[in-house]
Subunit: 400 residues, 2 copies
């Protein structure tokens, strides 16, 4: 930890720009992190993602353990070589799956109130309650594979070791992510276990190289103020090289902001801060303004699948290309967008592809939406450096 | 017609290389034509197809009429501008849909014995017999839209005029494509109607510019020798600028060859010859050897969807990436393939993508399979120019 790893290069209010060094290169923050749950970002190749300017992707230890399994990836030379991505790679721990395959599944809440952490674009069914696919104890979590019913045990130690063996650069410690429907007592118990697991993760992670992979501790606490403050202080005080904010962040934009306002003051200034599974445009603005440095979300590709294009001037930043008004529209989605989709396709053509069910539509929309997010982050970085973030966000929000 | 349009540049036996001039550029033949039924080739962008070296795509008048409709494409500046493809475009007529939505649907045969002409990668259901969605009469064909039940009339005149209005370069006349289950009498009746429609198509196509779009007449006749010979002579003798071989070509490789051996001798030497809906690797070799110049097929992307990669040395030229033997295989699909997929991905990674149901697998397999086809055509052209086609094919077939 410290300047050698994360260098804050400018500040504007609580927001900051920084340079985060990893074994596979330096990340300019704030940065948006596309989700490559199973070592792939939907229909985009590593080359597509590099063209879009992305610096880092996030994979998922739970999913990669089940498919294809660590031994496959290791024998192919590690995660980078396996997926053809030479830049930094983050790996999430499986903590979200403890929620989504456990209490989330039993309560039938799926992803309600959650930022879709780590399941790619394949949402679990959330219709009605089901039996849990996770058994939790103090040692760790035992999952029943959704593929073949086999049992798999994850512990703080096994997750840290597996992530190291895969060659990930930024590694999330195993946490216990709770449901927004959990009581205060349940949320406190999960938080305390997450804290005990944090200590075990740190222990398992040593001895580590000073310039090797970095371990991130995860703050929990649901939407309870005292728990968030307590968890931020506890996790922030440990010897992690980065801190992530996880768990249920409430069901409204205002609530996400509230949870971050409780959490951020407890975090150490000098460490990079990641927000897990949050990435709607409005949430990104909130998170950056409150001093978050990294955030991942499947939103850009999930929107793409339904023909929703991100757009600076549309309501809620969304243009629904299937609308009949675009039937004869010769303009690109965004006039000034440099992405390959906007450079080559009219709205009328894109609408046609979605109306006809042509898979090319999904590809072209994903390309645009990811370019949009990267361009947004570049603008936010510039605004922070020039100390005009507040004005920039205000303009961005009102220009619609 | 004639040297100004199609120039034969070398010959080897019946095979030939040529240069086919169109309003949007010159096509080196023999050429494989990817299928863009609804103005899109599955998940590949126009830029991907240009990178793969393709010279010409084939769209479908029937499908584009229903979705998005000619008026949309025209108002966007024509088919080229609409789909972002600046090279030559071929357009099929809807003759195949007369079969597939008519007798094919009633007989429950779907695509049996057919080379999948013009329905992209979305096969119609062929389970059991259904009512016809086409009513045929001497004037033309009336289709019930599969989208909204509306009725649409296609005549030889309307198809030729619509293709001209869309700006297509190489235009198939409307034909009546028969089912392989049709009797001799039914096949003869359809052939005779196809011939009468050919005359009407030619009439509707005038006055045309000498360097404008070219109209292709279509040879029918099922798998009856005398009908094929008669149709080849009749269509070949008309003032079309190109000739296409359509209809049921039999259910085996040997049968396709037989039908072509009956057909080709009746065709004029100097006109380009297109084979509709045929494009398995073995069929391409047969067609080129017998003097065909162009051929289209959905096979490369249809195989890609199931994780089947074209491969020079594998049995039937197919490598099924889901096979367990590739689980840890660090090699590219083909060692010497210059496609982006082979340059960046191991077999183990590609297998993982298909096992995990990641849509990137389909994209990467489509890219490889289309590069494979284009490289195959380039090799065939070179072998013809060097007058060693027979040996080249023998080597290609036995090196497996």
């Amino acid at each position: 930890m410290g300047p050698a790893r994360f260098l804050i290069t400018s500040r504007d209010g609580l927001a900051r720009t920084g340079l985060l060094s990893t074994p596979h290169g330096v990340i300019e923050t704030p940065a948006f992190v596309p989700v490559a749950t199973r070592a792939a970002v939907q229909v985009l190749s590593a080359a597509d993602l590099q063209r879009a300017g992305f610096q880092v992707l996030i994979t998922n230890a739970y999913h990669l353990h089940l498919q294809p399994g660590e031994e496959v990836i290791r024998s192919l030379g590690g995660l980078h070589k396996f997926m053809g991505w030479s830049g930094p790679l983050m790996i999430d721990s499986g903590g979200f799956q403890i929620f989504s395959l456990g209490s989330g599944r039993m309560q039938g809440v799926g992803k309600v109130g959650k930022g879709n952490r780590g399941d790619g674009d394949r949402p679990l069914s959330n219709s009605g309650s089901k039996s849990s696919l996770v058994r939790l104890d103090e040692d760790g979590a035992e999952f029943v594979s959704y593929l073949d019913g086999t049992r798999h045990r994850f512990t703080p130690e096994s997750v840290a070791e597996s992530a190291l063996a895969l060659g990930a650069d930024l590694i999330m410690a195993l946490d216990e992510c709770t449901s927004p429907l959990d009581s205060y007592e349940q949320t406190r118990a999960a938080l305390e276990r997450t804290h005990r697991w944090a200590l075990r993760s740190l222990e398992a992670f040593r001895p580590r190289a000073p310039k090797g992979p970095a371990l991130f501790g995860i703050v929990q606490g649901g939407d309870y103020e005292d728990l968030r403050r307590e968890s931020a202080r506890f996790i922030g005080g440990l010897d992690f090289e980065g801190v992530a904010v996880g768990g249920a962040l409430g069901t409204s934009k205002a609530h996400i902001r509230q949870v971050l306002e409780w959490t951020v003051p407890g975090l150490p200034e000098g460490k990079p801060r990641h927000l897990l599974g949050i990435g709607w445009v409005e949430d990104v603005l909130t998170a950056v303004r409150l001093g978050l440095d990294l955030m991942d979300c499947v939103a850009p590709t999930r929107l793409a699948r339904t023909g929703t294009f991100l757009h600076k001037k549309e309501k809620r930043f969304r243009l629904r290309i299937r609308n009949r008004e675009f039937r004869l529209d010769p303009r690109p989605v965004e006039d000034d967008c440099p992405c390959p989709t906007c450079r080559t396709c009219s709205r009328a053509y894109l609408r046609h592809l979605f109306m006809a069910g042509e898979p090319l539509g999904f590809h072209l929309a994903s390309v645009h939406n990811l370019f949009f997010m990267e361009a947004l982050m570049a603008s936010l970085r510039e605004a922070i450096r020039e100390k005009r973030l507040g004005l920039w966000i205000e303009d961005f929000l009102t220009k619609k």
